[in-house]
């Protein structure tokens, strides 16, 4: 059963608000809870403004969470000080791959120094020679030519840059990697390169991924379980096949019905399901397990109907 698996991340009632108390207060993440199991790929999908990226950034502590707990390997990391030994340790265990291959690499640094940044921070290598050797290994791992380590980011294509970003994240040998829309800025033919690479590395090193995206077909392909976010809340969470085959939440259904499929015959028959955005939530609703492993944001009455 799912519950016997080891949990690497447990998010409990996480809230991330911005501009608290001001007229422009934003509840980017509003009371969400979920677990991520060791070794799996956890997909987080949602449209722009749904809070999916904020969730990722709160978990990796780029933000200080407003409220709630984030347990990483059983330890609450939501309140550790941003410049302490505890944080430094945590920074080795959890890493992030970013969205924009053009903004995620410092244009003034050589590829070598970009990849070695984590090695330097955590003192993982001694001496220039070992450092260079490790960078070579990492470049090789992401299928880049080690001769390129003295080049600058602008000389690389989008896909290559994204692989440099992956090498940088993996340099510190993390257990858990958050990939924040890692392929949405790439061309179709390049997306598969990056996704394949991520999967290969996951298998080799037993990594756990949280894969944030708006492209549902790619998320479905890469993820074991998927959470759907809408307006700062998780509205549905289940195994990826389950989500696609039996979506329960009206929003998930609408989202799925909107995905264009590269097949004219299917497209001809596709029926778009509209979602009423005017009254998405009511107070008596919460995320509850309505079927085994299948969570739905609904009220008790609805939940009971599945029993």
């Amino acid at each position: 059963m799912a519950d016997e698996r080891e949990k690497i991340v447990q998010v409990r009632n996480l809230k991330q608000y911005f501009n608290i108390g001001k007229p422009n207060e934003v509840k980017a993440v509003d009371d969400i809870s979920f677990d991520i199991y060791k070794g799996e790929t956890f997909g987080l999908v949602g449209e722009s403004g749904s809070g999916k990226s904020t969730t990722g950034r709160s978990i990796i502590r780029l933000y200080d969470p407003t409220d709630g707990q984030i347990l990483f390997n059983g330890q609450d990391i939501s309140k550790i000080k941003s410049h302490g030994p505890q944080m430094k340790e945590f920074r080795r265990e959890m890493q992030m791959i970013f969205q924009d291959p053009y903004a995620s690499l410092n244009p003034r640094m050589k590829v070598k120094d970009i990849i070695a940044e984590g090695l330097d921070v955590h003192g993982l290598v001694k001496g220039e020679e070992e450092r260079e050797k490790r960078v070579r290994e990492l470049l090789d791992m992401v299928h880049l030519n080690p001769e390129h380590m003295t080049r600058y980011p602008y000389e690389f294509s989008g896909g290559q840059r994204q692989r440099i970003g992956i090498a940088r994240a993996l340099a510190v040998e993390p257990q858990f990697v958050i990939a924040d829309e890692p392929i949405s800025a790439l061309d179709v033919s390049i997306q598969a390169q990056v996704v394949n690479l991520m999967q290969d590395i996951q298998k080799e090193q037993g990594l756990t991924y949280m894969f944030i995206a708006h492209d549902l077909s790619m998320v479905k392909y890469i993820s074991d379980r998927i959470a759907v976010m809408y307006h700062g809340k998780i509205v549905e969470l289940a195994d990826s096949d389950e989500i696609y085959n039996h979506p329960l939440h009206a929003y998930t259904q609408s989202l799925l019905s909107a995905i264009p499929v590269p097949d004219p015959e299917i497209e001809k028959t596709r029926e778009r399901i509209d979602f009423d955005h005017s009254q998405p939530f009511s107070d008596d609703q919460s995320l509850q397990e309505v079927l085994p492993g299948h969570f739905l944001y609904c009220n008790a009455e609805t939940a009971a109907s599945f029993k």
């Binding site: 061309d187 997306q191 999967q199 479905k220 609408s254 909107a258 264009p260 590269p262 004219p264 778009r272």
Partner: protein, 348 residues
Amino acid sequence: MDKILEVKDLHVNFATYNGTVQAIRGVSFDLNAGETLAIVGESGSGKSITVRSILQLLAKNADIAKGSILYHGDDLLQKSEKGMDNIRGNKISMIFQDPMTSLDPTMPIGKQVAEPLLIHNNVSKKDAMARAEEVLRLVGIPNPKARMKDYPHQFSGGQRQRIVIAIAIVDYPEILIADEPTTALDVTVQAEIIDLLKELQQKIGTSIIFITHDLGVVAGIADRVAVMYAGKFVEYGSVNDIFYNPQHPYTWGLLDSMPTLDTSEANRLNSIPGTPPNLLNPPKGDAFAPRNKYAMEIDEEEQPPYFKVSKNHYAATWLLHPNAPKVDPPASIKKRFEKFKQLGGSVK
């Protein structure tokens, strides 16, 4: 069918700091009345430059080096600037990619929608505004009468794209060019906009040239499809030809690298290795050859001509030459061939 637009052997160069970029290297196509032609390709393949050439909305360093663009037999490239002004927004109009920046931020939207009418038709301001209101209603802006006085920033992204579409269709253009109109939008909004375009096409009978990099969108909207790579069309045909009987290895690669909802993790995605060529010095032979699993010697020496696959279906690959060896396409492509047979097509 009526051919309303014919583009012949179009070449466009860009003068840049590093030299001349040959962005479009001989593109030819035609457009029939009432149909939707989709041009699909990766960023930098030249699809946007191709359609901007039609309206001559290119950057200053662009040079249309060769070719002709015949609109009802009239070469647009020979027209004066004033002659082009009469075509733009009137006979041929355009929708741009980013709805957040396409509207003038300091002008009420009603006025912006009415503008093409005031430019091209001898109508009173009042009539133009009345028509603008009507079109805004048509594209699904609720309560258009009141909202005409609002400014772009008071609308959501999807609504703004609807307004941009309203501007494009307000003067019943014969051709509507949509340059990645849904790329910047969320998937549910994208679906709404595409449905809207289809519906409008029915209502006003316009032809559409639709540019996108998303094959899924193409499958839903196009009658005919052109696949573009490195400044050339590598394959074009009907939507069924391209999706169920693709012949060019690049088309195979594109289709094969997309997960469909039934792709499970067990069957790995196939990616196209490498990156598109630099068009500063385009390769002598087939530009796709270095990434092509099925590349042959001839590919490195000579550019392939268009081979006719069936009526109106052409592909520029040496694999279609009688002397070429028979190759084994990817599994997912073979599945598509099966479907083509079921639909009554004949596969080689």
